[in-house]
């Protein structure tokens, strides 16, 4: 009887749930949220129809923070409380150059994470990013008219563990469930469908507002591998506007002295846009005294002005190719990212460098978000591209500090993730019950040459004579590129306790505290929000279980096991009605636990089926059915 209920999804007592997943490009200058509609990626717009959201957050005492255009308008008058380019500070320590030179008022605290002092309080970069994510989340839920199930959020390929973790923390503060952190260049390549094409080398040229990145990827049988990245963190589209603005002011002469730089920049920016589709831009600059200056800028003049800047981007291109051991001719496709790559001169220079045409079919401002949206749909099983498999690699080597400040690599750079490596350690003293491990990330042989990630203190080692304990430490990097460490003493089987002190990240306690703060600030009810988040999770679990049971429940479960599972499922459904987040979480955990051996059996079976020498198209068929 009960199984009938499962076989008919229409009769499911779970309210109809949209599997709403989106892609988010959390950029340095602008952010964007996109989704897949009828198989096509689309950017979501605000009420005024604007798709880009400036990555700017402005704080005012006693008020809600403003995000986007409204915040951008305050940047000039209130620079200390208007935070721009927060992405540059994500996962950075108070000692980092980018943090020290940020120009913001920093609060000195013991924690390695900088806090920026604003009129509304002190905030970490993750908290500030969360404000941007919150706005995008609201926009997505409004557009889809559904609770957001999850998001694929993009990060630069070179982001290290601390920067990725900070991005994940930001999503947690904003209540956004991250399906996957995706590398930006990989996302851009997906938007062009390159993952479906032939194997080969792909270059992603990303000229953002304030940064330039070049990434060399290799597609090899479904694996997108980042071979190398290079860039210039102080060169971007804004610099193009800047040289044009200078030229403008010079042309307008002395009368233009009253014209603000901001005004000139705005005009330069619009001229840049005009020139990407017409040969000439007419410029009108209002001068202070009621007069206006009129002039024209043609494409050739523009090209001459920006040429030195474009040339500067080619140096990192050369370096990235050299690091990958490749020549320009080895590259099969060049993907252009960032609004400034609309300029025909940029396209020509890059084409000339690689000796072939560049790809420009997809809007360069949206290409990263589009790729993320495609991946999000694939992950949530909403898309024919559900068959897509992206295998990423660890961007940097992970190692531990050994005697004399040297580094022993545990997981080398470019290992396909997820990856797990075990390492055995022993004690140096009789009765020693604790030990400390310092984990670093980077390619150099010395600790100073690498970036400190965290210190792990292992406790609860059973006391033994020196050298007798065999402590196996397991380093695991998940599909998002994030590290977890677990330790077991092998002779006794005792699981050692691990206390993590992230060098530049937030501890679990700090995260909890900030989570509460952020909810309070948004004037939400804590319990209500937690219940809502738990509800989405619970519904997802029931859907997943129902779909599994309807396919092979009778194959892998005895009658008795079926009824246990179904009663736990019913408990969870009942808790959904009760409105208490804690009860809901307990019921979900119970159901998860009860499904454990079922899940293991079916996974074992599906793997066995898969590798028992079946032909490719059979396999294809099966995964499509999923």
């Amino acid at each position: 009887m009960a199984l009938f209920e499962i076989a008919e999804p229409g009769q499911s007592p779970v309210p109809h749930q949209q599997q709403s997943a989106v892609g988010i490009d959390l950029g340095t200058t602008n952010s964007l949220v996109a989704y897949l509609q009828d198989g096509k990626p689309r950017a979501m717009a605000d009420e005024q129809g604007r798709e880009l959201l400036p990555s700017v957050v402005s704080f005012t005492a006693g008020k809600q923070p403003q995000v986007g255009y409204a915040a951008l308008a305050k940047a000039a008058d209130d620079p200390h409380n208007t935070i721009v380019s927060i992405k540059r500070l994500m996962g950075r320590s108070t000692l980092d150059h980018s943090v020290k030179t940020s120009g913001y008022q920093l609060v000195d605290e013991d924690s390695g994470v900088p806090r920026i002092r604003t009129a509304a309080g002190d905030f970490t970069p993750a908290q500030i990013s969360a404000e941007i994510l919150s706005v995008l989340k609201k926009r997505a839920e409004k557009t889809l008219d559904a609770e957001l199930m999850g998001a694929v959020v993009t990060v630069p390929a070179y982001f290290d563990d601390a920067q990725r973790q900070a991005t994940k923390d930001a999503a947690r503060f904003a209540g956004v469930h991250i399906l996957r952190l995706l590398n930006e260049p990989t996302a851009a390549a997906i938007a062009y469908g390159l993952d479906q094409g032939e194997d080969g080398i792909v270059a992603v040229y990303d000229l953002g507002g304030g940064t330039f990145d070049i990434s060399i990827l290799r597609l090899n049988k479904g694996v997108f591998e980042v071979l190398s990245t290079a860039g210039d963190s102080a060169l971007g589209g804004d610099d193009l506007d800047s040289v044009v603005a200078e030229w403008l002011l010079q042309q307008a002469g002395e009368e233009a002295q009253s014209v603000s730089r901001r005004q000139a920049m705005r005009l330069a920016n619009s001229a840049k846009h005009t020139l990407s589709h017409s040969p000439e831009a007419v410029l009108t600059l209002p001068l202070g005294s009621g007069k206006t200056w009129k002039g024209t800028l043609n494409r050739e003049q523009f090209n001459t002005l920006v040429d030195p800047l474009i040339s500067r981007t080619l140096t990192p291109c050369r370096r990235a190719l050299r690091d990958a051991g490749l020549l320009p001719a080895d590259v099969k496709a060049i993907v252009m990212v960032g609004g400034s790559t609309r300029s025909s001169h940029v396209q020509t220079c890059v084409s000339d460098f690689f000796g072939q045409d560049v790809l420009t079919g997809v809007d360069p401002d949206k290409v990263v978000a589009y790729g993320a949206a495609i991946q999000a749909a694939a992950l949530s099983g909403n898309h024919a591209a559900g068959d897509m498999l992206l295998l990423d690699v660890a961007p940097l080597s992970l190692g531990i500090e050994t005697m004399g400040g040297l580094v022993e690599k545990i997981i080398p750079r470019n290992s396909t993730i997820p990856v797990a490596r075990a390492q055995e350690f022993t004690t140096y003293q009789d009765g020693q019950t604790a030990m400390s491990l310092h984990v670093v990330q980077g390619e150099r042989d010395t600790v100073e040459g690498c970036r400190s990630l965290a210190r792990f203190n292992l406790t609860g080692i059973p006391p033994m004579v020196a050298g007798a304990a065999r402590i196996q430490v397991l380093f695991q990097v998940d599909a998002d590129g994030l590290l977890t460490v677990t330790a077991t003493e092998k002779t006794s089987g005792v699981q050692a306790g691990i206390d993590v002190k992230p060098s530049y990240g937030l501890t679990e306690n700090e995260i909890e505290g900030m989570l509460r703060e952020s909810i309070a600030r948004s004037q939400e009810d804590l319990e209500e929000r937690q219940f809502r988040e738990q509800k989405v999770e619970a519904e997802r679990v029931i859907l997943a279980l129902d779909s599994a049971l309807s396919r092979d429940g009778t194959e892998f479960l005895t009658r008795e096991e079926q009824s246990t599972l179904l009663s736990k499922r019913q408990d969870l459904l009942d808790s959904l009605q009760k409105g208490d987040s804690r009860t809901l979480k307990i019921a979900r955990d119970e159901l998860e636990k009860a499904s454990e051996s079922y899940v293991a059996r079916r996974m074992d079976a599906s793997v066995q089926k898969m590798i028992a020498g079946r032909r490719v198209d059979d396999v294809e068929k099966q995964t499509n059915e999923k």
Binding site: Q19, M149, G150, L179, R180, K221, G222, A378, L379, S380, G381, D387, L389, L390, L391, S415, T416, I417, P418, V419, A420, R421, Q476, D478, A479, T486, Q495, G497, I498, R540, V541, L543, A544, L545, A548, E592, K593, S595, E596, S597, V599, A600, M603, D604, S606, V607, Q608, M610, I611, A612, G613, R614, V616, V619, T623, K626
Partner: protein, 185 residues
């Protein structure tokens, strides 16, 4: 901390068994590639983004195991080492064999030769020649290993692997030096 999740039965297979490949040294790389990608299609955690949390954790373990297995089997030297490790587990042969003096002499001479390259008249040409010699020697060892392993001459195979390891490390140093020399040019 998350509580431990029971292991999948499939994780008790060795790397060859995991991909249903014969436990031998010769390997068809394209078959390995195919099996690996098929396995990742059911194992990768991305496949379980909306599944039960337990399922996702297990998939992560499986995918990591598959990555490790693929990595070890793909490399000739690592596959050879792994095969020896499997036979050692079965027959409990332990300990490393002592390197013969003649081989030790050769290794020291090669190292000396490598150190002299930067001072030679045409370092880039010299290093290319040196790298070529190493590749030829490695190829020979690889063949020799395959033969002795299939004859079940495990002790001999182990000695070959020791030499092979030396050449593998030397090749790494040669590559590093070559990159350094090219950079300096």
């Amino acid at each position: 901390m998350t509580e431990p999740v029971p292991l999948l039965a499939i994780l008790e297979r060795n790397y060859f068994q995991l991909f249903e490949l014969p436990e031998q040294f010769p390997l068809d790389q394209s078959v390995l590639n195919d099996k690996y990608l098929h396995l990742q299609k059911v194992a990768h955690p991305d496949r379980y983004a909306t599944a039960l949390a337990r399922e996702r954790v297990m998939a992560g373990q499986l995918a990591a195991y598959a990555n490790e297995a693929y990595h070890v089997l793909k490399g000739d030297l690592s596959r050879a080492q792994y095969l020896l490790q499997l036979t050692e587990g079965a027959s409990a042969q332990q300990g490393t064999s002592v390197t013969e003096p003649a081989i030790l002499m050769e290794q020291m001479e090669l190292r000396e030769q490598l150190e002299g390259i930067s001072q030679s008249q045409n370092p880039l040409l010299a290093i290319d020649q040196f790298a070529n010699d190493i590749t030829v020697k490695t190829q020979k060892l690889k063949q020799e290993f395959g033969e002795s392993f299939s004859r079940k001459a495990f002790e001999h195979a182990k000695r070959i692997v020791n030499q092979w390891q030396f050449f593998d490390r030397l090749k790494q140093e040669v590559d590093d030096l070559a990159a350094e020399l090219e950079e300096g040019n």
